[in-house]
């Protein structure tokens, strides 16, 4: 069996998407924590285009971009599939995974901004959560149905990172009364052993992201 390596960082939800997928599929891997302020030559060699994590290296061949990696994993490891087998269901899953990637950045904007820009980002974030609540989840336990799938992993940041950002900026977005389905999903998601046992420490995150926010606001 060919070796699997994951280059990631402890505080990145994108890194965790892949880590969770590997854990859910029971794929053994070697994890390397990357320092993004001092990128390793190996990271740059594996991802010369973006120089970003996560990178999966399988049998020496690198795959970059978290969603590309998730799509890849079902190929060599078809058990516990991340995507459904029906083409229409797959298209729906891909749609929501793309939505998570394209719209999810508004939460980051809310976190790293103030004033008018933050107000707009809060509005955008609430709209995004409303769309997910009303259209994406239905009455299923997970976006993937009975089991966690690619879409759940794509929205993983909402389950753990959003709470940290909310606490730091002092704005509550994901109110249980306003988003009952999504709120229940965050609980179910974090109760899954593969997820529960692989979450960055909340206090460490609070301290790290607080520091990062100050840095971002201070720079021009």
């Amino acid at each position: 069996m060919e070796e699997v390596k994951l280059l990631g960082t402890w505080s990145s939800p994108f890194s965790y998407r892949v880590l969770w997928a590997l854990e859910l599929k029971g794929i053994p891997y070697q994890y390397t924590e990357e320092d993004l302020y001092n990128k390793s030559p190996f990271l740059v060699k594996c991802n010369p285009v973006h120089k970003k994590i996560p990178v999966l290296v399988h049998g020496g061949k690198p795959i970059c971009e978290s969603m590309v990696i998730l799509e890849y994993l079902d190929g060599p490891w078809p058990h516990n599939p991340l995507l459904p087998s029906d083409p229409y269901e797959r298209a729906v899953a891909r749609f929501w995974a793309k939505f998570a990637d394209d719209k999810g950045t508004v939460i980051w904007t809310m976190f790293r901004s103030t004033g008018e820009e933050q107000k707009e980002a809060v509005k955008g974030s609430l709209e995004m959560l409303r769309t997910i609540e009303d259209l994406a989840l239905g009455d299923k336990k997970f976006f993937g149905g009975e089991r966690i799938g690619m879409v759940d992993l794509a929205f993983g940041a909402l389950a753990h990172w959003l709470g940290v950002f909310e606490e730091i900026v002092g704005i509550r977005l994901l109110e249980p009364e306003s988003f009952p389905r999504l709120h229940k999903w965050t609980k179910n998601f974090k109760e899954e052993p593969a997820i529960k046992e692989n979450l960055p420490d909340k206090d460490k995150m609070l301290s790290n992201f607080r520091c990062l926010r100050e840095k971002l606001l201070a720079s021009p």
């Binding site: 590309v68 799509e71 890849y72 190929g75 891909r94």
Partner: protein
């Protein structure tokens, strides 16, 4: 062998590079479809109902069910009509990952820069954007050499996912060249991509749906009318 004519509808518009991607994929698989064209400036009830989240084209409607986002539509077409044409995605998982990586690069990085060129007023900003577009095409030139393995397309002998992802923009690349008097695909910089563009445009699945450059220029003049000066 056309199939599913009544069952397959595509909501779109002829100038859209994203709609073109879906049409090429349908052609590769010889799938008959009803092309429902949206009018510029309005969105039909069917579009709003079929894509409530983004309200954008293209939308493929198959057996009454909508599929949105051009590259998701292309993958759907590949996965449904498996025996009526060559595969669009590569068969090897790693090759699929490479194709998806570059398609994401094209949509997330290259296209936003490319589409910003006509909107930038300042010459300096325009030049910088054009430079970034070239740099992106140089990366895609390298990717082409690796993926094509000496054949005509990113997909090898046949048009594949990455050909469709980039090829959708071919008409608009030609428009940019004519309207701004610069080369987007430059033989001295990206000779392989230049050759690829010729092969792509001439392909049976592409040639009847690729919009004519002159028609696109006329459309661009109306669609992207610059704001009147104060």
């Amino acid at each position: 062998m056309a199939s599913g004519g009544g069952d397959v509808k595509l909501i779109g518009a002829w100038p859209s590079p994203f709609v073109l991607r879906a049409r090429i994929a349908l052609n590769i698989k010889s799938v008959g479809y009803e092309f429902l064209q949206e009018q510029l400036g309005t969105k039909s009830e069917l579009l709003l109902k079929s894509n409530p989240v983004h309200k954008k084209i293209p939308v493929l409607i198959h057996g009454g069910r909508p599929i949105c986002e051009s590259l998701i539509i292309v993958q759907y077409i590949d996965e449904v009509w498996t025996s009526s044409g060559p595969s669009i995605l590569p068969s090897d998982p790693y090759d699929r990952a490479i194709a998806r990586f570059w398609a994401a690069y094209i949509d997330d990085k290259w296209f936003p820069t490319f589409s910003s060129i006509p909107k930038l007023q300042e010459q300096e900003a325009k030049v910088a954007a054009v430079q970034q577009v070239y740099e992106g095409l140089l990366l895609l030139e390298e990717a082409f050499i690796k993926c094509s393995k000496g054949k005509s397309f990113f997909g090898g002998d046949h048009i594949g996912f990455l050909d469709i992802a980039l090829g959708g923009f071919l008409g608009w690349m030609r428009v940019t060249e004519k309207m701004f008097n610069l080369k987007v695909l430059d033989e001295s910089k990206t000779p392989n991509l230049c050759k690829w563009a010729e092969s792509f445009a001439a392909n049976n699945a592409v040639k009847d749906v690729l919009p004519e450059t002159e028609k696109l220029i006329e459309f661009a003049k109306i669609r992207f009318k610059p704001p009147s000066a104060d």
